[in-house]
Symmetry: C2
Subunit: 570 residues, 2 copies
């Protein structure tokens, strides 16, 4: 059952983590080979299980008709396929690197990329076709197989994170040596023989740039597998509701988002060019980075507050989501933001307790505080919206009404500008610019306005078109629709509200992507800003950063996914 399999998975994971921990301590009699052997073995085990499952499903013995519509959204599967593709390229580069140094590297070093590539390809196939399955047969075996897969991916993730942070630390040490701290000895990462192909250094550099994608791939895969595991044997009403990706009316949001994105890239490049060249240049780079971050985070927080205010003006009932996919999304968001919060509290305390305060360290204080506040607001925003949709899908009646109700503002029959023009007179009559409408359930009232507008005498042709659409669907809703409600609510206002929310979501989406870039590609002000290291000591702070930073990077990627999801639901 669930407990038996999860405990097995936890132990597989803990054993692997301990191997890595031992590996990081440079123990005599222990080397990297052992970790790789362990990883290869558990990957092969997972491969066997996946092939067994795929064959079983093909032969129709395990055909599951039930699907969880919340799990494995299409954009998620596309995302994972993209990352998997890059991971396979990474494996090819690693294999090339191994062949170049094949004289002095151990065999597992070469077997690992091959196994990993095969594993990646089959896992993506598996997730692409089966990520929505609700397994009802061979439950015990499938439970063990899935939990094994979840923790295999987590272990691979941990191992990549470990390699990546080791590489970052070496780069940082390198910079420290440039800045004059000469009492640090660098560990050599280059094998002790000559490269036979001549392109090993190029391979090595490329590998470092591709790591962030591989890291994202594994964490995504384990999240999807976890949802599959949670769904085993569950009964679920399947609402096959496709999310349309409507991209009209988000010009301002995407424009400002793209401005942020390009500025961030510019700041990141500047940071990389300046940092480590001299003390002055380093401090300049840090100042620019902190000021820019603070500004951006303030804007993001304000946008989030505006979105929440718009959302709160309507009455909404929160119901807790029942699909594990939605619950996991919320938990991952809050859980991974703990990573940043830890670092931020560290920075704040370091500034409070430091003896001397160079100017640039002061810029760190507002930045850290804003990081805490921004994640707080964004999490609330995303989680409220994820759960809001749930409510509609649980209640079948409101769902049907919704699909009818949203026609006036989404159907191509009513392009927004002329529609707004037509009703502009009645709009000015209303005083309240944002009437008390439920964004979550824009139900009957919206439709009733259409019928009221009919009375006001507008373009007959449009109304007939619309009526034919609504009449087709409202066989059971017609009794309520025929009587106009007392409150007058206008499609334009609803549409406006919706458009603001969509623009905000797009803007936040691009902001999160742009904040992901500097972190994922090795912009580490937490290392370069010497203050925390000075206050807490070099080792404790570096260990802390190495643990917390991967979560912080994952947070940005995951909140971008979640915002994409929210966008589809608005």
């Amino acid at each position: 059952s669930e407990v038996v399999s999860s405990q097995y998975g936890i132990n597989v994971f803990l054993a692997g983590m301990f191997l890595m921990f031992a590996g990081s301590l440079n123990i005599t009699g222990f080397n990297k080979k052992d970790i790789q052997c362990y990883l290869i073995v558990i990957m092969l085990l997972q491969l066997m299980w996946m092939l067994w499952y795929i064959l079983l499903t093909k032969r129709g013995k395990n055909s599951t008709k039930e699907k969880d519509s919340h799990a494995g959204a299409r954009w998620l599967r596309c995302g994972i396929a993209l990352f998997a593709g890059i991971s396979v390229i990474l494996d090819a580069l690693k294999l090339g690197y191994y062949l170049g140094y094949s004289e002095c590297l151990s065999v597992p070093e070469g077997v690992f990329p091959v196994t990993h590539a095969v594993h990646t390809l089959i896992q993506v196939c598996f997730l692409w076709f089966h990520s929505k399955d609700i397994i009802q047969a061979f439950k015990t075996i499938e439970r063990f197989g899935l939990i094994h897969s979840v923790f295999t991916n987590l272990l691979l993730w941990a191992s990549e994170v470990f390699t990546e942070s080791k590489h970052q630390l070496l780069e940082h040490m390198d910079r420290l040596i440039t800045l004059g701290f000469e009492n640090i000895t660098l560990e050599s990462t280059i094998p002790e023989c000559n490269c036979s192909t001549g392109v090993c250094t190029a391979f090595s550099k490329a590998i470092n740039y591709l790591y962030p994608f591989n890291i994202e791939y594994h964490i995504l895969a384990s999240a999807m597998l976890y949802v599959l595991w949670k769904n085993i044997g569950s009964k679920m009403k399947s609402h096959h509701q496709k999310q349309k990706c409507d991209i009209r009316g988000i010009a301002s949001g995407s424009a400002s988002g793209l401005v942020v994105l390009s500025t961030t890239i510019a700041v990141t490049v500047t940071y990389f060019l300046l940092i480590g060249r001299s003390k002055f240049h380093s401090e300049l780079a840090l100042s620019i980075y902190y000021l820019y971050c603070t500004l951006l985070l303030i804007i993001m927080s304000l946008t989030g507050v505006v979105a929440l205010l718009i959302y709160k003006t309507g009455n909404r009932k929160l119901t807790v989501g029942k699909s594990p996919a939605i619950k996991l999304d919320a938990e991952l968001l809050v859980g991974s933001s703990c990573g940043t919060w830890i670092m931020s509290w560290g920075s704040i305390l370091a500034i409070i307790y430091a003896d001397s305060h160079p100017v640039y360290t002061w810029y760190n204080l507002p930045c850290s505080i804003m990081l805490i506040i921004e994640k707080y607001i964004q999490n609330v925003f995303v989680i409220e919206f994820i759960h809001c949709k749930m409510e509609e899908q649980i209640d079948d009646d409101t769902l049907t009404l919704k699909s009818v109700a949203t026609i006036p503002c989404e159907s191509p029959l009513f392009p927004d500008p002329p529609f707004e023009l037509l009703y502009s007179e009645s709009f000015t009559a209303e005083k309240d610019p944002f009437p008390d409408v439920d964004v979550c359930k824009p139900s009957l009232e919206e439709i009733s306005t259409v019928f009221q507008n009919d009375k006001n005498g507008i373009n007959e042709n449009d109304v007939i078109n619309e009526k034919s659409v609504t009449d087709e669907k409202n066989d059971f809703t017609s009794p309520t629709l025929s009587e106009p409600t007392s409150k007058d609510i206008k499609p334009k206002e609803l549409s406006k509200r919706k458009r603001i929310l969509r623009n905000i979501t797009v803007f936040l989406f691009l902001c999160n992507i742009s904040l992901w870039i500097p972190q994922a590609f090795g912009c580490r002000p937490q290392y370069d800003n010497g203050l925390e290291e000075y206050v807490f000591g070099f080792r404790p702070w570096i260990i802390l950063i190495d643990i917390a930073l991967p979560f912080s990077i994952f947070y940005r990627m995951h909140s971008a996914y979640s915002l994409f999801d929210v966008y589809g639901k608005i």
Copy 2:
């Protein structure tokens, strides 16, 4: 709402944890006072909220009629009251210690125990009277208040754990010095002035023995508060079902459990007498400890397997518990066992990778492996049984049937031995000694046998007595009862099954208590067995132990609670 308040709580917690982390690093310009001030402030905040809540409830404005019957069981409240009492004694001792050294200790050092004592008293009152509440009014304030309380208790727990492990480390260092490692400098814990009362050393020693109880108190309190927080605004059917504590027929279980308990105490005392005296004595102490643990864990695992086999022979349907109290119990069990698993994997790897293997280190290997297996089995056992009961309480009909059905084996009308004698003839006719009975739902069949036995012609008087009892209750079940079912199942077998399970539970309960004792009172083979320290290095291993051990100690206490719970449900 839930997300907003939980994020607030997490940040309060992280800030506090960072203060402690900073405190542990001996940073210049930072001292213990700051942590204590922070703790005093958050305790006062919680006090204010609790008083507000109690007053509100007294004035009847917030009277909640709904109660969660799973939360705050009586034995849990009694347990917490006991631990709280010891905590108050601890505070008194701390205050006495402060008064003795008042010349050279800072003021917060004296304010802290006073605040803590008041906090403890009011919190216990609060939990005693309100731990079953389902709050429906002032939800936002209560949510923040409760989550603040949860994390305040967790922070107090962490701070106690930190103090305790520092003390243990000092003791260990002291032993190392005795054994000849003289390159370690001891930090002095005694303040730099004379004790004015003359009993400071006695106080200091007593404080160290009382810490384990205080630690348990805080973790229990935060678990209860968390359940309260989770229950806010939830709708729940309240089944007021009192758990009877039936203590008949558990002689063998409690006898063997008490034997284990006394042996463990003997082994622990031997350990303390031998360890640190000389190399030979230390190794002897470790060997005795490991061999005894291995033996005990094997017995416990076998008992667990037997219990699971008995349980599995029946058909049972697992439903996931809906009360947050039950879900939390299961999560805490698995979560806290990770602590031991980490240490066990560490020991296993250390033995594999060590260069030299003194004989006593080999005893560590089976002990570590058995620790992993034993927790695995025990968790499965406890969690299956917790959920099993849930099912009965959800289904009202089976519940009523159960209370009727259990009469034959529990009611004083039918003392077991004569009842068995009477039917002994019909029993021998059956071949299967353990028929396929559902332990979870021994429903109609049991009663029908009573009616069948009636036909076989037995002592009329007994049957009349029994009939009068069953007739009183089976107004609605009579149609099913009147027709005998095809399967013959005997009350004696069920009773035997139940008695075995109860004995096993009592035995495991006492075993867990007895395994808690050496850990809680400072028996640390993980420190004293030098192997892991040698392989992983002194600092990494000590940090790991300091993080994992508190969970391991908590696990034993918590599984004892859960087994107590399971016992009531069998």
